[in-house]
């Protein structure tokens, strides 16, 4: 496997009022070009932190990230990020939001006309050309996320980083968006790291699923290779035993971790003065898909 992106022994420690808190401890992951990898794990396990380190928005205290033989130490358009909350400029139209990125990234090597066409091309990819002049407030949540993806794609990134891109959407819109993303991925063959809470989403979209252990001191727990032929069809896969096996594997991993976490939490309570960072302090929200009944409905 050629090593396109290497996350090498990454650790990060934040100072807190209760002393230093090690969120990540020795995260190792290698990605091939064109690979689609999902990061899954419980809330507060540091998935977003991994993504932010790859993006260069956070600096690792230990280890580092190497992309195409070069170490990553600052953010850049070669590692475009799709944020959970679209993060479009509310005062710019759909077109202008993408154009801002295009102008910035290609100001030297594309003419004005080419930049215009490139902007339209990327909005075409996400089927948003009918709403070029709309402001983000005037379009739905799914459409905003489409524009966010178009903006990221327009940067022609080496790696596309997606932080729960569909987490805030209703399930019907989410399935549409997943299909769109698979279609785009089939055409452009991007290298993608996506964080998700949704087991079905992870199995459906990924080449590999990286399951992270609970924080603090989170690391890569298990890696699951998803050996399903593409293009993948969600309806056909719902009945597919291999698909269901993969699903069960992920659910099992998350469930075990959940039990461990509960044990540890009750242990911590007895010992008072548990370490809590803003991230780990949030309530242990139910992982989507951990309840089979709801996720089967989702997949059909």
């Amino acid at each position: 496997m050629n090593q396109y992106l290497e996350i090498s022994h990454v650790g990060i420690t934040f100072p807190t009022d209760n002393g230093p808190l090690t969120v990540l401890d020795g995260v190792d992951l290698k990605l091939a070009q064109g690979e689609f990898v999902s990061l899954i794990g419980h809330s507060g396990c540091g998935k977003s932190t991994v993504l932010n380190i790859v993006a260069g928005l956070l600096n690792a205290t230990e280890g580092g990230v190497v992309l195409e033989g070069k170490e990553v130490d600052e953010p850049g358009p070669d590692r475009a990020v799709v944020f959970q909350h679209h993060s479009l400029m509310p005062w710019l139209s759909v077109y202008d939001n993408v154009r801002l990125a295009v102008d910035q990234v290609f100001k030297k090597n594309k003419t004005k006309q080419e930049r215009h066409e490139w902007t339209l091309h990327n909005l075409e990819l996400v089927h948003m050309t009918h709403a070029l002049d709309r402001k983000p407030d005037e379009i739905s949540g799914g459409m905003k996320q489409r524009v966010g993806i178009a903006r990221a794609l327009a940067m022609e990134p080496k790696v596309l980083l997606m932080d729960e891109p569909f987490g805030a959407l209703d399930s019907l819109t989410r399935t549409h968006m997943q299909d769109s993303l698979m279609e785009i991925q089939a055409n452009l063959n991007n290298t993608v790291i996506m964080i998700t809470h949704d087991v079905d989403e992870a199995v459906l979209l990924s080449d590999r699923i990286v399951m992270m252990t609970n924080g603090p001191n989170a690391r890569v727990g298990e890696i699951l290779d998803i050996d399903l032929p593409r293009p993948r069809e969600r309806l056909a896969l719902a009945e597919n035993p291999t698909y269901n096996h993969y699903r069960a594997e992920v659910v099992r991993f998350l469930h075990e971790r959940h039990l461990q976490k509960e044990q540890r939490d009750s242990h911590d309570e007895n010992n008072e003065g548990s370490l809590s960072s803003p991230e780990t302090a949030e309530p242990d929200e139910q992982v989507k898909g951990a309840k089979p009944a709801t996720s089967v409905r989702l997949a059909s």
Binding site: E74, R79, M89, A131, I139, M155
Partner: protein, 336 residues
């Protein structure tokens, strides 16, 4: 993409629909009749209450007396204009005569240069006040917006400036005024002054009082830019200037306008007090002069000024609100 179906296809049609809906009989009743009744009740209470108050200048004026005086102030204004027109007509005749008599150009110019020096009317004083407040407010905004942006972008500068701003913000205009008066008298020395000292004193006092809300609100707006948007600018590697112009400024515009509106409101209140003491020929001076004058009509004339001050303050606020609605991207914000 069935999300589009929920959107109205034609925004213009939607606007017209809303406009038409606003004429619905029940809405008209609510929007016009209720405020009308409330105003009538207010006038009745005012009228009844005022007649109970005896002052050394007679009974406190009720609505009828105030209305009468406002008409009289308007007539005085008209009369003054007629007199002014007559003056310039006479002047023109003299100039014509001088030309016909073959007087030297120098002498003609001297005749021409004469200006009408009649008494300032109430209406003139309103305009003086408006010009003074606009000057003070503009100067304050030109200082406060850039300063607010710089302070908002830098936490250290914010910590440095914040205590100073908090200390100066609650200072009354009446405390500034003597200082400003003395400084203006000392510094602004000119044989042919462009502005009168009273104008400068009033305008500078307005500036000093309406700097603070704009500085603070702009700084808070600039500092509060969505973290995700800042991350987007980092991923795009936007330069400092591009980041400021394309992301920080637009995103802080709603807060900036909130500050400007507060400032203008304060400026207008401060102006009246400043004009009273600085003797700038505006509404404040009108009130002061009437108070000193002490005729039987004085109280009613002051009431006219009070209502005019309130009404103009309201219009200024509406004007700022309209500007805010035009420039702010946050169309969902409820502005009132």
């Amino acid at each position: 993409m069935n999300q589009t179906a929920t959107m109205t296809a034609n925004p213009v049609a939607e606007r017209i629909g809303q406009f038409a809906a606003s004429f619905h009989p029940i809405k008209v009743l609510k929007n016009l009749l209720v405020p009308f009744i409330a105003m009538m009740v207010f006038l009745l209470l005012w009228s009844a209450g005022a007649s109970q108050v005896q002052t050394s200048l007679g009974v406190f004026p009720g609505p009828a007396k105030v209305w009468e005086q406002s008409l009289s102030l308007w007539q005085e204004h008209q009369a003054e204009r007629v007199k002014e027109a007559a003056f310039y007509e006479r002047l023109q005749k003299r100039v014509d005569k001088a030309i016909a008599a073959g007087k030297p150009q120098e002498k003609i110019d001297r005749i021409k240069s004469r200006k009408y020096t009649g008494k300032e009317t109430f209406i003139d004083q309103i305009f003086t006040s408006l010009i003074t407040v606009a000057t003070g407010f503009l100067v304050a905004s030109l200082i406060a917006i850039p300063l607010g942006i710089i302070i908002g972008m830098n936490q250290t500068l914010y910590s440095a400036f914040n205590p100073i701003i908090q200390l100066l913000k609650p200072v009354s205009p009446l405390a500034w005024l003597p200082l400003v008066t003395m400084v203006v008298s000392a510094v602004y020395v000119s044989n042919d002054p462009m502005f009168s000292k009273s104008f400068l004193t009033s305008a500078i006092t307005v500036t000093l009082c309406c700097l603070w809300p704009t500085i603070l609100n702009t700084a808070v707006g600039v500092a509060g830019v969505d973290k995700d948007l800042i991350n987007v600018s980092r991923v795009l590697r936007l330069g400092w200037l591009t980041k400021t112009v394309k992301i920080v400024l637009p995103s802080s515009i709603p807060m900036m306008f909130t500050g400007l509106r507060l400032s203008l409101g304060i400026g207008w209140m401060v102006l009246i007090a400043a004009e009273m003491l600085a003797q700038n020929p505006g509404l404040g001076k009108f009130v002061w002069d009437e108070f000193q004058n002490g005729s039987s009509n004085s109280l009613a004339r002051i009431m006219v000024a009070v209502i005019a001050i309130g009404f103009i303050g309201f219009l200024l606020d509406r004007a700022m609100l309209t500007l805010q609605k035009i420039f702010s991207w946050d169309k969902n914000a409820i502005l009132r």
